[in-house]
């Protein structure tokens, strides 16, 4: 009777999936840039697939409309390896005796060992994780099968405090453990009961997930978006009523396994699904934004996926060509304007200029006094080491010379002098103040 009830629950939960007859398992954009094409892998259920041709499908991108289908291929990836993550329930109930007289955990381990015998290690990779209150790594993806056997036998009964069944959070977590998006990925979960989370039933936050309990809808979304299929194996009379639905919507299936032999069929089922997959190739022109969304349709069935479009500057806009050309000319005119701005010009009269402040003083016809006094022609204030009339530049109009005269030694061009005829570009240093002398001269060409 129990068996009939469980089977009915599974059938009822998978029933809504019959309307979903197309499932995209992967959108491969690796050839988008260099070949301008996208490969879409998908499976079809409940459809007569004989004689299918590219014309039977439409692929539409939200902004670009229908895309040109260039190829349709069945079993395009049939030789591809599969990454499996086996997720085993290690909650307290798994250590109860099953209907066969042995503990369920022993039955699950046997089932997993049987599954591992089918693995083709040259192509497939396997990882094993166990969950109860926590998710525990038993063997990371890629561990050799003999090593996995050894690690499986080392799984131990959890302590009393670890007896919760974080089924949903664990399912969400393991989906993140696959590297990349390419290739076929499958999660197989062996469980004997329902999701029973610490936060919902233990009244306290989980040390890793806090108050988060992933919903079945979120699990389905994650698995669909990342192209991972979920297969469930129930090994008790209890069943998580939502699990069968999650498995179906991810593209996997749910098995009510009463013997260890039956689990071998799961591997065969998954292999068969991949063998039956189709690959459709479309030409993808440059899209306007950085993201696109494609929708694959066949008659009433359809499925959609997002894709990333490598367009740094975006695609076409509504700006008219005339405006673009005008802006181009405007930019070039700006360059031209900068070109014609004079940035420097030689001096037209003899002058001294402060290096620090750029203050300029035109030299007098006779003498120009440099000093601390306010009455000096060039005042250097705030320096007690400078006399009120520290130095004088004398202009000999007849000879056309400028001579620096000082009672105390000052530096001209880093050399101490008391009397020195200046030439354009000489640098006068007085007690830390630097003054540049310049005058029109023969350097002009």
């Amino acid at each position: 009777m129990k068996k009939i009830i469980i089977s009915a629950i599974i059938i009822l939960s998978v029933l809504p999936l019959w309307s979903q007859n197309i499932l995209i398992s992967q959108v491969d954009t690796n050839n988008l840039l260099f070949k301008g094409k996208i490969d879409i892998y998908f499976s079809m259920t409940g459809i007569e697939t004989a004689g299918l041709s590219p014309e039977d499908f439409t692929i539409r991108e939200e902004t670009m409309g229908d895309l040109e289908i260039t190829a349709l291929k069945k079993g395009a990836d049939k030789d591809a390896g599969i990454d499996f993550i086996l997720l085993i329930d290690n909650s307290g109930s798994m250590y109860e005796e099953s209907y066969q007289g042995s503990r369920r955990i022993a039955q699950a381990k046997l089932a997993l060992s049987s599954f591992l015998e089918n693995i083709d290690e040259s192509r497939d990779r396997v990882g094993v994780y166990a969950f109860n209150t926590m998710l525990e790594e038993i063997a990371p993806l890629g561990t050799k099968v003999p090593d996995i056997h050894r690690r499986l036998s080392a799984i131990e009964q959890p302590e009393a405090g670890m007896a919760y069944t974080e089924l949903y959070n664990s399912l969400g977590e393991v989906a993140r453990l696959f590297p990349g998006k390419a290739g076929r990925r499958a999660v197989i979960v062996l469980s004997d009961g329902e999701n029973y989370s610490l936060f919902q039933h233990g009244g306290r936050e989980h040390e890793e997930w806090g108050k988060t309990v992933i919903s079945p809808e979120e699990i389905v979304q994650t698995y669909q978006e990342t192209g991972i299929t979920l297969d469930g194996i129930n090994i008790s009379d209890k069943v998580d009523t939502r699990l069968a639905g999650i498995c179906g919507e991810s593209g996997g299936s749910f098995h009510d396994v009463r013997s260890t032999d039956a689990i071998s069929n799961v591997y065969t089922d998954i292999k068969q699904r991949i063998t039956d997959e189709y690959m459709i190739t479309v030409k993808a022109p440059p899209l306007p934004g950085s993201r696109g969304r494609i929708k694959l349709s066949y008659k009433d069935g359809h499925d959609s996926r997002d894709l990333l479009v490598p367009v740094l500057f975006g695609g076409a806009s509504d700006l008219s060509i005339i405006v673009s050309i005008l802006l181009l000319l405007f930019g070039l005119a700006g360059l031209g304007a900068v070109y014609y701005i004079p940035f420097e010009k030689p001096v037209k009269s003899a002058q001294i200029q402060s290096l620090e402040s750029n203050q300029r003083t035109i030299l007098n016809e006779g003498a120009t006094i440099i000093g601390a006094s306010r009455d000096a022609d060039y005042t250097i204030a705030g320096n007690p080491g400078i006399d009120s009339e520290h130095a004088t530049i004398v202009h000999d109009k007849q000879a056309g010379t400028f001579t620096l005269v000082s009672n105390r030694a000052v530096r001209v061009n880093n050399r101490k002098v008391k009397n020195r005829e200046l030439t354009p570009g000489d640098v006068i240093q007085i007690e830390g103040s630097t003054i540049i002398f310049d005058a029109p001269d023969a350097t002009k060409v």
Binding site: P286, L308, S317, L327, V338, N413
Partner: protein
């Protein structure tokens, strides 16, 4: 021209380059290119060509040398086109490649990742553009300064675009704003990093270039009267060629090919160490050495 004024000129040139490149990108996208690869290459090359040309022409603008300035700018434009096209392909393929590791339909993740991707792409483009001058001069320090300036300018432009795109969702407006902002920021940061990477400046004391300041960035700098010289002294009857070099924390000057140079009014017959406020006389031009 003081150093800060030169940075402002760079900024203005960056804005002009941004405007011209925006128009070029618009014309390219309107050209109906149907291949991702061709469009990416064309956009990257156009952007690099324009920015390379404009910043390569900076010396021509500063010295009012049209012909030789255009020649130098043309080489810079070619280098810019190649580096920016390569950067564009790298960015685009990088976006595709990394998209394999994340969930594209997770809105929160994409809300963070997309701006980061674009920011990284713009940074790479900025770095490619910024490196042009250093590559042309075969000067590692200048290349590094250009790359850093370009990275920051590109990042700033990319972030500016992300900010603007929220308020101006139309592709052309956002692109215009982003490119103008990126151009100005690349110009600003190129100038700023050149300043930060310099170890001294030379100020012209007389003649046509009076008050112009040159930043010394490279380990070896040739001073002369050709536009190809690292430090171009235009507008003097006679300019003695000299080389300034940096080694073991000291800065040296020497005449090139026995040309007569004076340091503090004394003939420098051999390689000579420079110190604060030394006055260099190379023919008719006088320069003040100001270590930083």
């Amino acid at each position: 021209m003081k150093v800060n004024r030169k940075i402002i000129i760079y900024l203005v040139l960056g804005v002009c380059a941004g405007l011209v490149s925006f128009s070029a990108v618009e014309l390219l996208t309107a050209a109906g290119i149907t291949s991702f690869l061709a469009l990416s290459l064309a956009q990257g090359a156009a952007l690099g060509f324009i920015f390379g040309f404009v910043f390569g022409f900076a010396d021509g603008i500063l010295y009012k040398e049209l012909k030789s300035g255009l020649m130098k700018a043309s080489v810079a434009a070619l280098i810019g086109a190649i580096t920016a096209a390569a950067a564009m392909i790298l960015t685009s393929q990088g976006m595709i490649w990394t998209s394999g590791f994340i969930n594209l339909e997770h809105k929160q993740t994409m809300g963070i990742l997309l701006p980061l991707w674009r920011g990284a792409g713009w940074m790479l483009m900025g770095a490619a553009i910024g490196a042009v001058d250093g590559i042309q001069q075969r000067a590692s320090r200048r290349t590094l300064a250009g790359i850093l300036g370009g990275l920051l300018g590109g990042l700033s432009g990319g972030m500016g675009l992300e900010f603007i795109i929220r308020y101006l969702p139309e592709a052309s407006l956002a692109r215009a704003a982003g490119l103008l902002w990126m151009g100005s920021m690349i110009g600003l940061f190129l100038g700023e990093f050149e300043k930060r990477f310099s170890y001294a400046r030379l100020r012209v004391l007389n003649g046509r270039l009076k008050d112009r300041e040159f930043l010394l960035v490279n380990k070896k700098i040739r001073l002369g009267e050709n536009l190809q010289d690292d430090l171009y002294l235009k507008g003097y009857k006679k300019v003695a060629r000299a080389i300034i070099s940096r080694a073991d924390g000291e800065i040296y000057i020497e005449g090139e090919n026995n040309s007569r140079i004076l340091v503090n009014d004394q003939i420098a017959e051999t390689k000579r160490t420079l110190k604060y406020q030394d006055v260099l006389k190379l023919g008719d031009v006088k320069l003040l050495y100001l270590p930083l």
